[in-house]
Symmetry: C2
Subunit: 261 residues, 2 copies
């Protein structure tokens, strides 16, 4: 799924991602890669089990070098969030805490608003097996959880970071119904062009004695016109169809000419 455009400037903004006591270098690398895909760039590690730097993290990061190189390590969570102003804690479990639990879409819109107001934000992700401790969650302003299958809830930290990073990117698109690129420019065919095509097609069918019995002509015509109308044909596609009809006409004419020879 690589579609990197090296002429484009790298997007580097948004919340800090903070991994609390991550164990596997592979996961840290995959986190960096997930972040880079969606324009996040600032990664902090609290007390990583295997130290830092970590060769396995580099390998798994798949060229997200700008994230890996800027990664900073902290001894404890309070140190890692000291310069930030708003903290989100991810959790997969219900906690007995008086803290709002939002979904990723809600939280991302809060983070985006904060970003626009120059508020420094961070998102906490817990240990591979145990997540965050309650005293760590207590340092966060809000919790976020993912709408997973209750009977199969098994997101790893790289997947959780990917989803939050994706929602972050999505929250920045003025129009939520926006995609990175659209179909190549080709206008939807105008109705007069469509009518020209109907004339061409129906003329060819007439020659081919398609309309039989005569009583069904109107119905057959309407059905055919409906088919090509509800397809939302583009100008260019209409040209293609003209070609198809023309080709079939030629074949039919050739056949008839042979017979009459």
């Amino acid at each position: 799924m690589s579609g990197t455009d090296y002429r484009k400037e790298l997007i580097c903004e948004g919340p800090v991602v903070i991994l609390v006591e991550p164990q596997l270098g592979e996961n840290i690398g995959m986190v960096a890669r997930a972040m880079a895909n969606f324009g996040l760039f600032e990664l902090r590690l609290v007390n990583p089990r295997d130290g830092w730097p970590n060769e396995r993290a580099n390998a798994a990061a798949s060229r997200a070098d700008h994230v890996i190189e800027a990664t900073r390590v902290y001894e404890d969570l309070p140190g890692a969030i000291a310069d930030l102003q708003y903290i989100v804690a991810t959790t997969a479990r219900q906690r007995d805490m008086l803290k709002d639990v939002l979904n990723p879409t809600e939280v991302s819109s809060i983070l985006r608003r904060a970003h626009d107001e120059n508020t420094r934000t961070g998102i906490l992700f817990g240990r591979e097996r145990w997540g965050l401790h309650n005293e760590e969650i207590a340092l966060a302003d809000v919790m976020v959880t993912f709408p997973v299958n209750p009977a199969f809830a098994s997101l790893n930290i790289a997947q959780a970071v990917l989803l939050m990073s994706y929602e972050w990117m999505r929250s920045g698109q003025g129009e939520l119904n926006e995609s990175a690129f659209r179909a190549p420019d080709s206008e939807i065919a105008g109705k007069s062009d469509l009518q020209n095509f109907f004339n061409h097609l129906e003329g060819a069918l007439e020659d081919a004695k398609y309309y039989y019995p005569e009583a069904r002509r109107e119905r057959m015509t309407n059905n055919l016109r409906s088919i090509f109308t509800h397809a939302g044909l583009k100008q260019q596609e209409l040209q293609t169809l003209h070609g198809v009809v023309a080709a079939l006409e030629r074949r039919w004419l050739e056949k008839r000419n042979k017979k009459t020879k």
Copy 2:
């Protein structure tokens, strides 16, 4: 991030996921795991490089056994989609094709509507390195692409499946602003309760000769009340604060009693 609740019934519905010529067993396993997290269950492989079943896929699936066991293998793509009615092709690159390119949110709402009308749908994911060929995309009704960082677009197939599966789950939540669980029930404190707390706090501060100089009393009071008003305190949190004030009062009273002894 495990939060599986084994009392809950497994969600199994939604679009078929079709991997075209996947190479690495690990990726297939991670795809199964991603699907299971968001309730998808039907996986099809077109001509997988290392055959099927695949031990590495089983290992990476992390207990998504119901997906792995039901996986079916096909020799070609037309065979894999023969029983389906609406096909989405994922792509990371602009294609010179007259086919709409939507974002995952748009496509998921189409897939959800189709699902509700019993239309059988599928989502195509291409090879690790090259994605889908144009003749494969031509078999799809629509294309979907992810809003990635243009200068770092490097989603692997498991990540792409995860994002589509997440959007699928999200599209099924009546209220987009819904999370799997909410904070434990505790009402926001009523204003009369808040007033009681102010009385308690201000009484304690009065005893402690906090309001000095007298001219600043009103301002000091207002500032304090503002702090506790804009925090949106819950009923239970207010009880906690009463306890805090009571404890400080006791300490202060003890100190004073000691001095006067």
